[in-house]
Subunit: 206 residues, 2 copies
Amino acid sequence: MAQASPSASAGDTKALILDAALRRFAEHGYDGTSLNDIADDVGIRRPSILHHFPSKEAIYRAVLKQLVDDWGTLVIKAVRDPEKGWDQIERVLAAAFEFFENNTEFVRLVRREAIAGGPFFDEIATTLQPLFDQAVGFLEREMKAGRLRKHNAPQLLLAGYGAILSYFSDAPLITVLLGSDPLSPEALRVHHREVVELFRNALDPR
Amino acid sequence: MAQASPSASAGDTKALILDAALRRFAEHGYDGTSLNDIADDVGIRRPSILHHFPSKEAIYRAVLKQLVDDWGTLVIKAVRDPEKGWDQIERVLAAAFEFFENNTEFVRLVRREAIAGGPFFDEIATTLQPLFDQAVGFLEREMKAGRLRKHNAPQLLLAGYGAILSYFSDAPLITVLLGSDPLSPEALRVHHREVVELFRNALDPR
DNA sequence: GTCTATATTCCGATAGAC
DNA sequence: GTCTATCGGAATATAGAC
């Protein structure tokens, strides 16, 4: 029986290391995470970590690869059998929200990379670049066909990227600003609805 | 004659340290920056840094305080003699864009704090919180008066926060996605116009 | 596969000469 | 005010026993 969650709960030490490393790297960044931190979470000693991975950098790379692969899989599923116009956008938004909700570490890690170029910035950037181009292409096609109102497609996409990702990546700050948990199911529902409405106002010609 | 820029170009070593530290902390984070890095940029040795500041943490705190003070000053100026409805929003947006354009390090530093809680997360959060409440109050008042279309004000504000800040904080990634410099005057003009239009579609009842 | 012990390097911070 | 020299500690990584 396969495990749906990216984490493992028993047996495979390698998976336990990746799971602990993901949480640590997302929370404290690459420089702010030591092999001792990861080893403590797993419940083993530092050198035992390096029996499974050749270096700290290799662990980080493996964590990143797993996340980007998961994201790529989701995107492929989301753009299969595409709808036209606004319906497709709502579909992709819903898929993205669900993914981010279940992978908040992904968002924070990618954001850390985006800000400054972590150790493997180029890898992430070149992976995301074709997905971005594909989305821009879709938007421009639908605008030209009159199924979406005309806008600067790349800029609109970047605005959406920022609005959605920030809500997850900056959850600690937003918790203070709102005075309540922004990641509760109720709060996420409200945020989702508001973002959809914001872009529907700009894009939906109906 | 006073110096308008936050940086110094000669003489005052303390200011040179702050200037170098700001750039290093914004680019590589607190953990990713060593006193040697800063000292190298200034052109002195590591212990000389600690003649001007008692510790690395004190330098970070000083950098942060200067940025938050600058931001507070801008906000105070921007909300003086407020306009009504959409005009005021456009005014504040223009002021914010100009500030971020001239203080890209501010954006990246605040974002690092927002993601995980840097060393002084609480300070930043409690400083920004009343500004957030003030903005929410304005939006809700204007919506009630019919000068703005009704929305979930906090959520809309968070969406705007994310859309605008991400463009600056994630400039390294966006450079790859767009294939051109997102911080060029021309690109900033386009981005500014698109963000204004996005929110005008949602808010302006005219 | 996990451990103890250790090599090496870098860190922040201090002491004291000039 | 800046320097060299050094302390104490933590980091990654390796060697080798079990």
